[in-house]
Subunit: 197 residues, 4 copies
C-alpha cells in the first residue's frame, strides 16, 4: 500500500513523533532552573528552538490523532498551545493558513485550538489542521530579528504528510518570554504562497 | 466614462492624495522636538498613526505615478520606504502580498522598492504594486500588542483603486523606533485571504 | 513619656502600619487577573505604586518587630523581599544605605534579608535596618524613566522613626516585571546625602 | 617634588590620557556602520566598553584642564557628555558623588556640565569634579544586568589623582542606545562609601 510505503523516508521523524507526547510535556515542564531571567534578551538559539518545538508539536498531534484518536489529540493540542503560545498572557495575533473571514484571526486560545483540531461548533469551517497526518516539519528562516525583550522571525515552514505530500507556507512568528522564562508565540501569520493567475 | 465616474466616491481620498507627496515628506521630516525618547514604549496611537501613514503613502505613490509618471513615483516610493520602514536599521522581514519564490521575502530596501514600483531587472516578476491606481486605503486591526520597545499589529488592510475595486488583505506589521524616535516597520507580512477550493 | 508623645504626628501612618502585615501579603498575593502582560511596558503609576509598597513594607517590618518580635519581623521581611525584589529572577544590584566593604553590594536574597533584619553571622556589621522603629516613609522622585520593559527612578526617600527623627536618603530603583506581571526591584542604590567637610 | 614623583606609577595612564581628547572624539564619531541596530539587546561587552569610555573621558578632561586650561576642558567635557550621556534623549537621572540639596540631582545637561567643570553661577557649590587632576580610573562591577533594550551596572569606580590619592565610590549606571546605536548613560548614581561613626 502506497501510504505505508511513503512512511519510509520519514522514519526518523516518525520515531521522534512517536515519543512526541512526552516531548511536548517536556516543553511544558522543563526545569525552571535553566530558564533565563524574564527580562533577558531573547537569543537566536531560543527562536530556533521554539521553531523546532512548534514543528515537533504539530507532528506529535497528528501522530496522537492517528494512533490514539481525536480526544487524545485534542488534549495534547491544548497542552501544546499552553506551552508554545502566549494565550495566557493576553491576546495572540494568530492568522492561521486556512481560516476565512469573519473568523480569519484567532486571538483566543479557543479559536486556536479549534483551528488545530476542529470539532468546535463556533468555528464550523475548521477541519483540524493538525489532524492532517503530518509526519515531518521543518522551518527555514529568511530572517530573525531580536527586538530587546521580544523577537520576530520570517521564512518558510515545510510540512509533509504520511503520503509524502509537501505543504510549504510563508510564516511569521513573534515571541516573548512567558512566566517561566520560556518563549511564547504572541504573533503567528501563516499564508499559502501567492499564485499568479 | 466609467473610470472617471468611479472616482466620485473617493473625492476626499483624492484630495488627500493630491497633497500626498508633501504629506509623505512631512512623515520624513516631522519636527524632532515632539518625538518620544528612543527608549520610550510604543503607544497604540503611534501604531495607528503609522498605519494611516502607510495607507496615505501607498495612495500618494499611485497618484504620483498617475499624475507625474514613473520616475517621480519611484523617487517618492524611496522617500516613503526610508520614512516608514527600518531598512536603514538592519534587515526588514517583508513578505509582500504578491511575491513568489525564490523572491518571496524582501529583506533589503532594493527588494522592497522593486515590489512597490517595479522596473528592476533583479526582480522581473514585480509589476509595481503601488502603481495600481490606488485611491483609498484603510486599516482595521484584529489586535495590537505592545511589547516594550516594539509593537506588532494584525488585521485587514482594504485598498480601492480608481475604478472602485476593493482588494482586502491579511496584514501583520511589526514596529520599532527609528533614530528620530518615529516608528519604523521592521516586519510586514501581507497575504491574500485563503480561498477554500 | 516622650517616645509615646512623638507618635502623635504619625497617627495616620501608624494606623496604616498596624494593618501593614496584611497589606504586605496583599502585595505578594494580589489577584493575577488584573496584572498586565509580562511584556507590557511599565507605567509611571506602577512605579509609584511600587515605591509606596516599599515604604509600607519597611514600616510594616518595623511594626512587626516592635509588636511581635524578631522572628515575626524576619518572616515578614522575607515575604516582602520576595514580593518587592527580583532575587528569584537573578542577581539584584542592591547597594543599601549603611553597608561597608567588602559587603557593600547585596546581590543575593540572603544578603538583603540580613541588611533588613540582621542576625546573620555572615554579615556581622548588619544591625537590621528595618528594625529601627520606622513609622512613616515617603518617596519623592527627581525623575522616572520608562525604558520599554524596565523602568528606573531616582529621588529621595524620607523615613521617620518612632521618635520623629527623619532620615532622608538619595535613592535609585530599577524595576522589571516578575512572573506575575507585578514589578520587582532589580536595582537599588541608596546613599546618605553628601556632607561637605 | 612629591607631586612629580607620584606621577611615575601612572605613566601608562598618562600616556593614554595625553591622547584622550582624540579618544573622546572617537567615542563621539565612531563609524556608524559597525553600530548595532537601535533595537538590538545591549551586551555585557558594550557595558564594559562604556565604563572604560567614561573612565578615559574623566581622565582626559583632567589632563585637558591641566595642560590647556579651563576653557578647553569645558569644551571637552561638553563633547564627552554628549557622547556618553543621554541628555539629548530626555532627562538623565544623575546623582553625582558630591552634590548637595537642593541641587543633588542633575537631570539636565547644564547641571551635569557644571558638576564636571564648575564655573556655573547656577550651581555655586560645584567645584568641578573632573578638574581634580585625575590620572587613572577603573571600574569594577558587582553585577551587570541586561534588561532587553537597556542595561544596568553596579560596582566600584576607583580614581587616582596626580598625587596618587585614591577615591573609590559606589557607582550605579543605566544605559540605553542612542540614535547612533551607541550606549548612552541615562542613570548615574554615585556615592561615597558609608562610614560608620
Amino acid at each position: 500500500m502506497k501510504r505505508l510505503n511513503m512512511l519510509a523516508p520519514f522514519a526518523v521523524a516518525i520515531t521522534l513523533a512517536a515519543a512526541a507526547p512526552a516531548a511536548a510535556q517536556t516543553v511544558a515542564s522543563a526545569p525552571e532552573a535553566a530558564a533565563p531571567a524574564l527580562y533577558a534578551p531573547i537569543t537566536v538559539g531560543e527562536v530556533e528552538d521554539a521553531q523546532r518545538g512548534w514543528c515537533s508539536a504539530l507532528v506529535a498531534i497528528s501522530m496522537e490523532a492517528d494512533t490514539k484518536g481525536f480526544t487524545a489529540a485534542k488534549a495534547l493540542a491544548g497542552q501544546v498551545l499552553d506551552a508554545a503560545y502566549g494565550y495566557a498572557m493576553g491576546p495572540v495575533l494568530f492568522k492561521p493558513t486556512l481560516t476565512v473571514a469573519p473568523q480569519t484571526f484567532r486571538t483566543t486560545r479557543e479559536g486556536a485550538l479549534s483551528y488545530f483540531v476542529g470539532g468546535d461548533k463556533t468555528y464550523l469551517n475548521d477541519g483540524g489542521f493538525a489532524l492532517k497526518h503530518w509526519r515531518k516539519c521543518q522551518s527555514e528562516n529568511a530572517g530573525i530579528v531580536i527586538t530587546g525583550n521580544s523577537a520576530i522571525s520570517m521564512g518558510n515552514v515545510s510540512i509533509w504528510d504520511d503520503r509524502g505530500n509537501l505543504t510549504k507556507v510563508d510564516k511569521t512568528w513573534g515571541y516573548v518570554r512567558g512566566h517561566d522564562g520560556k518563549l511564547r508565540i504572541v504573533l503567528h501569520h501563516s499564508s499559502l504562497p501567492y499564485s499568479p493567475k
